[in-house]
Subunit: 288 residues, 2 copies
């Protein structure tokens, strides 16, 4: 199959590498000329071209650019493809993107997808062939995609060892607000708070241990990628943030009052996250 990757950063570049490893022919486009040359140099793609040329030459178009740019670009890509071509996006939000192509005559040729994979690094140099191996891939509005497109995409995901899950775009965006977008805001904000105090109290960060480094790791993530995710999913994310802030103010009050019983109870509750992350059902965890 001929695959065209639009956007040659961590997400698109890694997808390109996995496609090449699977024996597919891969070309790419990127508005950033440095990304194009770097992607060729690193062997992410065989050659670079314009978006127009890419659409004219490939069987499958993979859109891996910031989510607000996907929402802008996707309708015009669907305008230009034939009824044999297909399009998939790898964006971290789904509702607004799906809405922009609802009712498009070529809607059936498009699959809305979000592989749950990434790192705190960005750009073509951050790409690696195994980024998607063993990860989960959320497919939204499955029934709006043509059966032949679904089958071909599924075969490619299987080859990459990406496990598909299916849900509505609304559920996707709500759930991801909690398990991904919220933790990014929390990490960015932790970074901002500690950098602020470091200005007055030099060398505080000399004391940072592995715990702090782990919690703040996501604060290194790309401004372009995350600005667009936060704005595209603002409604769910603001709700999640309000709940987080309510819990946080309550925690702060318990600490201010040195209420050991309350603090202890909160930590015991929070500890249950370990079991739930290990796959134990929340009902069984709460009962303990």
């Amino acid at each position: 199959m001929k695959v065209g990757i639009v956007g040659l950063g961590l997400i698109g570049g890694s997808f390109a590498l996995a496609c090449r490893a699977g024996g597919h022919e891969v070309i790419g486009s990127d508005v950033n000329s440095l990304h194009r040359s770097k992607a060729i140099e690193l062997g992410l793609i065989e050659s670079a071209c314009t978006l127009k040329e890419l659409i004219a030459h490939v069987d499958m178009i993979v859109v891996a650019i910031p989510v607000d740019a996907i929402a802008q670009l996707l309708p015009s890509i669907l305008d230009k493809i034939s009824d044999q071509q297909m399009v998939v996006d790898l964006g971290s939000t789904k509702s607004k993107i799906c809405n922009t192509v609802e009712g498009h005559r070529n809607r059936g040729r498009y699959l809305a997808s979000h592989p749950l994979a990434g790192t705190e690094y960005s750009g073509p140099t951050a790409a690696f062939v195994d980024l998607y191996r063993g990860k989960k891939n959320i497919i939204c509005e499955r029934d709006r995609t043509d059966e032949d497109v679904l089958l071909k995409m599924q075969a490619l995901f299987d080859q990459m060892e990406l496990q598909c899950l299916y849900m509505s775009a609304a559920d996707h965006d709500k759930h991801l607000a909690y398990v991904s977008h919220l933790s990014h805001v929390s990490a960015f904000t932790l970074g901002l708070t500690v950098l602020d105090i470091e200005k007055d109290e030099k060398q505080i960060l000399n004391l940072a241990g592995t715990g702090f480094r782990s919690t703040v790791r996501l604060a290194k993530s790309s401004p372009q990628t995350w600005t667009s995710i936060f704005t595209e999913n603002s409604s769910h994310l603001v709700t999640a943030l309000e709940q987080y802030i309510t819990h946080l103010v309550d925690f702060k009050d318990s600490i201010a009052n040195e209420n050991k019983a309350n603090i202890n109870l909160k930590i015991v509750k929070a500890n249950k996250i370990a079991q739930v992350l290990n796959g134990i059902k929340i009902e069984d965890v709460i009962k303990q």
Copy 2:
């Protein structure tokens, strides 16, 4: 040297192992009988005894129990030691502990220390010999400790490859509020928020990726250890939390208003944490 470890969890147990690896004779005490027997079974200590017996038999007493318990117990340990014995604690807060022994006739035999090492696991089974290797150890009120105690402790820390830094107890507690205690509250609260929503929206946590797992890792930490740290350092921690919440509300407002310029600016600023954590001076990072 004969070393007596009071408290046989992750911190005391790992210290015991490092002492044994350095050729020292190590006995231990713990109010929890299961911890005592487990510590012997795992070879953390050679034998277990009561605190009274331990004080009667060792050259160096290492106190590795929750910080509120250290503050309670330390004066009575200093009451009972000879002028040849010495005491060190490994607690994560220092001001209240140092205050309880200020003016004690044996104050000079005590060293206030905090090795910046730990994991999210607890108890004797979590202990491992290399926990302290290559880590930093903060020594507070150095000039209140007798020279011979300081030299012997320093030799032991050198043997364990623990690098000593010196600061006041007040500075220690303020700085640790930002680079350790705040990130623990943030992780516990993230856990609480996501567990809350998981009750209504089953299986959200199925979607948790490596980013979420990294940010929430510290939420698995011990309730007993962290309840006492948060209450012993409540004043500095509440200040840090207030600053964190202010930044967070501001971030939320930018997202609610879909103000891309503001969100982008915050992320670009937060990104600088990576360079500061890599040892680049904050003045040079801010200029960029």
